[in-house]
Amino acid sequence: MSPAAHPLLEVEDLCVEFRTRRGTIRAVNGLSYTLHEGETLALLGESGSGKSVAAQAVMGLLDTPPAHITRGAVRLRGDDLLALSPERHREVRGTRLSMIFQDALTALNPVLSVGDQLAEMYRVHQGMGRKAALARAVALMDRVRIPAASRRIHDYPHQFSGGMRQRVMIAMALALDPEVVIADEPTTALDVTVQAQIMRLLKQLQSETRMGLLLITHDLGVVAEAADRITVMYAGRTVESASADDLYARPGHPYTRGLLDSVPRLDRLGKPLVPITGAPPLPSSIPAGCAFHPRCPRAEPRCGSEAPPFRTLSPAGHRSACHFAEEVHHAPVG
């Protein structure tokens, strides 16, 4: 089969468990999504939703033990990544799949110059000489719009501002022209004005390279600005997935709806907030049935026992895991 026949990245029914001495916790419980070329898919969730663990599972960054992938498949252009040896997975990770972390200061090595760290990508993966690799590093820094790249190549990470460091991280992720880039909260540590710059840069780079971008975030604003499609996670499960426009206009899950009503917005001056009651559950004590039912305004007794299936709501592929998905989907947005 030709590679084009397969979707770029396909995650199917992924389950990840952490087995510690004090018990087993299910961090990811049946996550599925598909990412296409040139597309931005957002994985939206709060802390404890399993979104970061899911990304690490795809990247092959989870340590076993304590983490165990108990079920599911991760296919990059049809190649099952979970079946790869750690050695092969590492190769894929550098070249076809890469990741941008939240905290660039800890993700970069403080005692190596930025240029050396970028050049290392080429030296290790492509066996380039030092000179050539450094030249490529400068080009890379230009590409992520770091001003005066040739002068700054010998600077160390701490000499860069937060925004510039994040650009270095992006440069590193893009060095080997990966097909898929996973960005885990790439702008959470940044100020709004810098965040806007970084998101704009990612969008520009994406249109240049046609990479698939998996954006992992808790920020409804960032998602709305950047994502084509959105998968919402709650307590390790997928609760809703839809195109960005559809999800914000007609959410099909009470959790998504609750998030939209509870976030303070600049475009709704003085409008009262409607909070979701309670707090997200700890992964060690996830409620039975629908995990959201203790906090859900629409919950009925059966929500506490029967886990709702992940159903399709519209021909456009809007899906939701709620017993009352249609009702929620068709209710007017406040």
Partner: protein, 313 residues
């Protein structure tokens, strides 16, 4: 590595309750009661049990050498030169020393000065460390500058060499003087650690909040800073007991510590050195007791450090 991986690593290694993956700060990482933390961690380790049992035995020997001696040996403290340097035999499992005294009884009697030196020096150093560390770390200023320079100076003095020089200058000293000298030379490590802990905690949010409420410095230090700063100092204190015990034995061995007719492991080792080849038991038994005691304190200290570590970072 991400927060999740780090949190889980901490969870796995320190046997914490399952930490929620994805959370930067799993709630389990900040725990409440100092004693409970340590207990949960320690009871799962066989080495810790071995150390505890060893130290329990050593303490019993130090407190009641007479009872143990009469229980374990025939004739107790009775010495007969005719038995000099005899090897282990029935009723005398450790054999006899130079003077023909039962060696088990002698080794048991040697426990007390070692333990007293280790515990007294550490307790005194801990007290100095807590008081100076709190004051210097909290107030800073000239006091801090002064104490820091003094600790630097003492840091440069080798422990055993420094003690040798002082003790040689005052030949008629007993255990009390040795405790004093070892304390003078040994208070700096803990003080440094305490001070840096206090400096970090003085800016902690909850201290800031108490300050905002109008709490006086004494309350800030005693109620908020001390309980949260003390754990790593206690770990070092445990390790320190072992170090002091071996230091004391070294001084005795070198002939500048306790003098005959006092009884201590260091002195026994000293006496044994001339007869090691012919009568190895003279060296073996005090060395065994000394090593077991020192090792036990170090094991406890290590275990305590592991127990507290996730909080330290």
């Amino acid at each position: 590595m991400t927060d999740t991986a780090r949190a889980l690593e901490a969870a796995g290694e320190a046997a914490e309750p399952p930490a929620p993956p994805d959370t930067a700060r799993p709630p389990s990482q900040e725990r409440a009661s100092l004693g409970k933390d340590a207990w949960l961690e320690l009871r799962a380790r066989p080495t810790v049990w071995a150390a505890v049992v060893t130290l329990f035995l050593m303490t019993a020997m130090a407190l009641a050498p007479g009872i143990l001696t009469s229980l374990l040996t025939e004739g107790g403290d009775h010495c007969d030169l005719a038995d000099s340097k005899l090897g282990p035999s029935a009723g005398h499992p450790f054999g006899f020393d130079l003077q023909g005294c039962d060696y088990l009884a002698q080794v048991i009697r040697g426990t007390r000065p070692s333990l007293i030196a280790g515990l007294a020096v550490t307790a005194a150093s801990l007290l100095i460390a807590v008081v100076l560390g709190l004051l210097c770390g909290f107030y800073g200023g000239w006091l801090d500058a002064l104490v820091s320079r003094v600790t630097d100076v003492f840091f440069g003095l080798p422990f055993v060499l420094g003690a040798t020089v002082i003790l040689v200058a005052f030949p008629d000293h007993g255990l009390g003087a040795m405790v004093l000298v070892l304390t003078v030379l040994g208070w700096t490590t803990m003080t440094r650690i305490m001070r840096s802990q206090v400096i970090a905690l003085a800016d902690a949010d909850y201290v800031r909040a108490a300050r905002m409420l109008g709490a006086r410095p004494a309350r800030l230090m005693v109620r908020h800073i001390l309980p949260n700063a003390i754990t790593p100092v206690i770990v070092v204190a445990m390790l320190n007991v072992g170090a002091v015990i071996s230091g004391e034995a070294t001084l005795d061995f070198l002939g500048v510590g306790l003098q005959y007719p006092e009884v201590s492991w260091g002195l026994q080792l000293n006496a044994a050195q001339a007869f090691v080849l012919d009568h190895p038991h003279l060296l073996f038994f005090p060395a065994l007791f000394l090593s077991a005691t020192v090792l036990s304190f170090i094991l406890l200290g290590d275990a305590a450090r592991d127990a507290f570590d996730p909080r330290l970072k």
